[in-house]
Amino acid sequence: MDQKGSSILVLLIEIIVVVSTGFFLSNIAVAYADSEYASRIKLVEDSRIMAEGLLGMPGDALVSYQNPANTSIVVFSQGKVSVFKKGDPEGAKLHRLFYVPPGYTTTGAAEQAVWLCLEKKSQNILLRECLPGEMPSESLAGRSGKPSAAVE
């Protein structure tokens, strides 16, 4: 290879390195700025704290909660809440653990629900999609434009 050919090759390699670095950085930025992922973290944290609250409440209760990540699946198993999307590998699923006192159970699931309901009946806590009439009024929900929760 002559001198001119060699310098063109070096120039091409430099351009490839710069472009691929820029592409990699912008990919990282887009992935981290993805609000869906942040919403899923918010959902899994809120679900855990609501379950822990309900476990300490006397009597029966119903909490309706506007789902900030309504394209996700939420699953309650005994002492564990999981949030994920269909087809997510195990490593991408979000899990949070919480302690369930003896005698209590936590179960249920909801898929792509706009409103989630956590229902405490006796010593059972069930997660499910809210039925019509269980959500707070539209004015309450739409006033702030942000996810909201209500306890009955």
């Binding site: 822990e52 300490g56 653990l97």
Partner: protein, 151 residues
Amino acid sequence: MDQKAQFELRKSIYWTISIFVITGVIIASVGVFNSYKSSLVEIPPSLRAEMLSLRFFNSCFPYVDSLGKAHPEVIDLTQFTEKNLNACYSTAAFYGIKTFNFRLQLLKSAREISTDKYYRTDQFQDKHLVLVYDGQSLQEDVLVVFVQESI
């Protein structure tokens, strides 16, 4: 060394430094994005501790009347034991000291119990007015909940 060789040497040094700088920028960017995201979705520890402590005056040490009805916010002193506390709130599944631990103190009754991994490094505390049943009568008391976060 001729001019051409000097240019190539400078270029190699330039790219070696550039690789370190680019790697540093990538790592710093990931760190900044990560901490920003964590700050956006963080739940205050005091809120979670308050939710967890609801059970201490509602269901862990319940006073059950002669009809078999459990009364929330009424603590039966005979039930106010570390055994019952650790059954009601266990830290074993959460690596003990890596989660919330609590010390409960009844001021007027002068009774104090704590969870199994509590080492008196309180971060904050909370007070609740409760009724206490001492086997004969109900009396007003103050339940102080000392909270130790992950240590």
